[in-house]
Amino acid sequence: MYQWDFTVVIQNSGLLWQGLLGTLSITGTALTFGLPLGLILALSRLSPRRWLAWPAGFVIEFFRTTPPLVQLFWFFFALPILIDIRMTPYLAAAITFSIQSSAFFAEVFRAGIVSVERGQWEAARAIGMQRPQAMRRIILPQAVKRMIPAFTERAIELMKTTTLVATVSYGDLLYEANELAQKTFRPIEVFTVTALIYFVFIFGVSLCVQAVERRLAVSGDSTVR
């Protein structure tokens, strides 16, 4: 029978804490760049101009259909050969997850925008608004509210995906856990605690999302997925 011993985990909790901060930092960076980029991609894809819509569509589809780990490896190992930059794990992760999440966010934006009734566009045109004005003042404010649950769901997915950075030695929670497990020869305790930390954190966010979703449902706004 295996003797569980969590003391090494507790003694080294600082390391895991540092890892969690690393995870949050890369998630935050990806969100900061991914959201605006996603909006730009969505607007381009919906644009009547083909030279805008097609490349945006390609970027969205490509980054949605290829595995994020392949993208990460490409940016980490391949990109520095093509252009002359000093690639760090953090930079590669930031680029990968910003673009990758922006592709998914773009689809959320697009679904939200498309879900606003045609009548709203027509009403905006009827009072003399141009397309960009109508988008900014009439359509987007309505769409964004409906998209909140889908956004948070996507953000949670993003946070789970950031574990991939451990494979290029960026110090996120999983990477630090792996280091700790090898140092202490206590992989069961370390990885079990790590899984639980992720679970508590992500499940907590999920519960908040559900609460928001219920409140939106009560206020009579439909949401899109």
Partner: protein
């Protein structure tokens, strides 16, 4: 940008890539079948009238939906062998992690699909004397699965993408093989570009098919 692309260096090792492709397909098929079947079982349990089934199913779903797959794979690869009296191959560990994760996600798809069926269908089945189990099997599931097809295909695509995680524990799938080629030849650009394009080429037609399916369903069953 004066880099000279040389895909010949990748082509030279096409047998290694082929091995990787076979490895990718193997783990994909294992996870697709076991993940969806387990997901159906868990989804039915989640919908069961018995609380003793419903509760563990809900806990399973929440736990595996809310933890990263890579953490689960690491757990099965590094931690589990200490508890279990046998060695765990990379394939087993990766397949376990991906399967459990996919089961949790597809369980929610199955539950949603089953709940989307009009209660009148249950009543009509009961009215001709069918039992709960028969109504589920003959009336509700066939209709629900048709409705769930786009969501299930999406799950399948996600599973295919997830197989790359197996490379993190040195399972010889496409990405792992590309890494190998890149380290031998020092041609990471070509190696990873080829793999990225391979995934895109395999999955994009399926994605298009899903879109078409969704459009057809939106027009009416």
């Amino acid at each position: 940008m004066d880099y000279t692309w040389d895909f010949g260096s990748v082509f030279m090792y096409r047998e290694a890539l082929y091995t990787g492709l076979v490895g990718t397909l193997r783990i994909f098929v294992i996870c697709l079948i076991s993940g969806l079947s387990l997901g159906l079982a868990v989804g039915l349990a989640r919908y069961s009238v018995r609380r003793a089934l419903r509760w563990p199913a809900a806990a399973f779903i929440e736990f595996f939906r809310n933890t990263p797959v890579l953490v689960q794979i690491f757990w099965f690869y590094f931690a589990f062998p200490i508890l279990a009296p046998f060695d765990i191959a990379p394939l087993t560990a990766a397949a376990l992690g991906i399967t459990l994760n996919s089961a949790a996600f597809s369980a929610e798809i199955f539950r949603g699909g089953i709940q989307s069926i009009d209660p009148g269908q249950w009543e009509a089945g009961r009215a001709i004397g069918m039992r709960h189990r028969d109504i589920m099997r003959r009336i509700v599931l066939p209709q629900a699965i048709r409705r769930m097809l786009p969501a299930l295909t999406n799950r399948g695509i996600e599973i295919f993408k997830m197989t790359t995680l197996a490379s993190a524990i040195a399972y010889a799938e496409l990405l792992h093989q590309a890494r190998l080629i890149a380290s031998i030849n020092y041609n990471p650009i070509e190696a990873y570009t080829v793999v990225a394009l391979a995934f895109f080429a395999i999955l994009y037609p399926i994605v298009r098919a899903t879109y078409a399916l969704e459009r057809r369903m939106a027009r009416g069953d």
